[in-house]
Amino acid sequence: MIDTTVGRQGVLVDPVRRLDEGQVQAVHEASLRILGDIGILCYNREASALYGGAGCLLSEEPDGSSRVKFPPDLVEDCLANAPSRVVLGAREPDNMLVLEAEEPRVRFGSGSEANIYLDMHMEEFRRVGGEEAIRHPVYERRRGSVELLCQAARLCQQLENLDFFIRTVNIQDTDIAEEDKDANKFFASLNNIDKHVMAGLTALESLDKVIRMGEIIAGGEEELRSNPVLSFITCVAKSPLQFVDDTAQKMMEIVKRGLPVVVSSSPQGGSTAPITEAGMVSQINAEIIAGITLSQLVRAGAPVLYGSVPVRARMDDLNDLYGAPEFCQYNMDCVQMARFYHLPCYSTAGVGDAVVPGVQATVEKLLSHVSIPMSGAQYVHYAFGLLEKTNVFSPDQAVLDDALIGAVKHMLVKSQIDRRTLDEAYSQIERVMDTPHKLYARYARKGIRSGEIFPPYFFETREDVDIAVLNAHERRLELLEREPHYLGEDVVNTIYDEVPGLVGRINPYS
């Protein structure tokens, strides 16, 4: 029995329900209708065979795929088999996550595989002929590398409100072969952060190497299953309603090995899914539950997360648009669908379409950082540092996001109003009204210390120029000066001995 009071607690919310019960039921039925009548196109033979063996109707498509049509009972039975509690372990036991579908406890993490690492430094500028200098950020777009991933993980270790780590940059080192990317990216992450580490798998052949790395860190095969310090993301659906060969296979292999996996889909409203809320939610839900059905056919009871990453298309270039109200609506609905199925939800919030940190990024991020967690998603990814529609990871933005998420977590805390707190307040009011100055400040003191009272914005500026970004940059440099949380030397040596393909430059002991 796992104790749900251990590990990172996140914030338990009283969830906002955008959909009423009838609407949730209707979405479920609409998704079953899509799966039953339209079906999915499955490009993976093993998956098609599993579906067929379980009672799905299969028919051959001209492109060689199978059209799979699902009996509603099969989907519902498989959903019922998936566990409602998923444990995501961590090197540091206090950082493990117990995700419980029935408990709307929100955690925030990073993600996901941006190509650009947006570095920044400050330069001083002077008016021509003037004396007074102003500092202004100057950005450098750096191609993602394994060393930058190490640095990002080291930074994320220090971000108080980051509950789990999904690799922030895609490593594009020319000397790391495709088949060695997974080992390097997982090691770069796991060696620099002792929170839960999750990532997608670049190459299926790497899976066992990565799992071996996890076993060395956790202390053995059994230990890794009970404390899965790493887990995986598989976007099984290529929207609309197509299951690609490669990702479906990865998901099935991970499930066979008993490790937690996100079964996700990321359709774009307006291009790969209907732009309407009804259309988007019924389609993405169909895609996810078809994927979860597959996971449970491979292994009943396999630990999976309901992975919803619905986005909206811009209408000028059909690119992603994250800072849109519809993005929030889609995601809030999906959180409710996951709860309806008694599954923990891997959700999405906090991406900016902006290219650099600033007002635009803040506005876009704030919209989803506040609204989507209000629905009670257990696992909110994309929440730190992502800009330019997930193409850019900005460490300075991640530091800004940490401050914002701290405030969001505080705001989400359930109301403490009850008879006892009302009586205490009455007595306080009575006492203050008997004083000449009518001031409550004395009663705020304990709350300041206990954290009950939230401090002002961490990067506030009191001058007439907004230098929050510069303040965050200085904070980032300060956080990176802190002691790294590396794995022990023996563990690192064992990993280098047993897991081939790791580059030497990310070994802190070499």
Partner: protein, 229 residues
């Protein structure tokens, strides 16, 4: 309890902001124990001189509170509660100090100007000044210049502090200064002004001696204005 220990306990209770035994401090261990008022009474009964209580416990306690505020350990509510505790002690000590010829740091008259009922800022300044050892006369809110002039004529004062929250009432401050000028009283009093819509520039425009951004600044300004006189 020895005299030194008693003074030390008063100092601790100032730092904890406990006016009396009913007040909560930050430290749970003090719950139900005597606060500053009870301890000051006890100290007087045991023959400790009022001046020694003031200098050996209240002032040293407030200095420590000031240091904690400067270092970021304490917040304004902590300063205020400590100032309140000192204020409560001063009410007990005042007659003893007067009879032994010890004077306060200065007499300050405070008022929120006519038309303005917002007095929290002014009250906070009052608490802080009292805690810093000033004799504070608070005329309240919505005070017209006639009442202020009357008070200043009646009692010799060192400082006048005017407060306003509204842009519509801040102009009243200029009127008070003009009236004081007409009465020939302006040169005899130092004037500081404060309130959310005010600025250094506004204070200069109306001819005030100083603008205080907040209660902490107000105490520093009061110290500086009083030492100039």
């Amino acid at each position: 309890m020895g005299k030194d220990e008693l003074l030390a306990r008063i100092e601790i209770n100032v730092i904890q902001g406990r006016r009396n035994g009913e007040d909560e401090g930050l430290d749970e261990d003090l719950a139900g124990t005597p606060g500053v008022s009870e301890l000051v009474e006890q100290a007087l009964e045991e023959g400790i001189k009022a001046k020694n209580i003031l200098l050996g416990a209240l002032s040293t306690g407030m200095n420590q509170v000031g240091d904690k505020y400067e270092s970021g350990e304490y917040f304004l509510p902590d300063m205020l509660t400590a100032a309140e505790a000192v204020g409560a002690a001063m009410e007990i000590l005042e007659p003893h100090l007067l009879s032994s010829g010890v004077e306060s740091k200065g007499r300050v008259v405070l008022a929120t100007v006519k038309g303005d009922l917002h007095d929290i800022g002014k009250n906070i300044v009052g608490l802080m000044l009292k805690g810093a050892g000033y004799d504070v006369v608070d005329l309240g809110a919505d005070v017209d210049s006639g009442m202020i002039i009357e008070e200043l004529k009646r009692n010799d004062s060192d400082l006048l502090g005017l407060s306003a929250l509204l842009t519509t009432t801040m102009a009243e401050m200029g009127k008070v200064l003009g009236d004081l000028d007409r009465e020939g009283m302006r040169d005899g009093i130092r004037i500081m002004v404060g309130g959310a819509p005010l600025s250094e520039q506004f204070a200069e425009e109306i001819g005030a001696d100083a603008y205080g951004r907040d209660a902490i600044a107000a105490v520093k300004i009061a110290d500086s204005l009083v030492s100039d006189t």
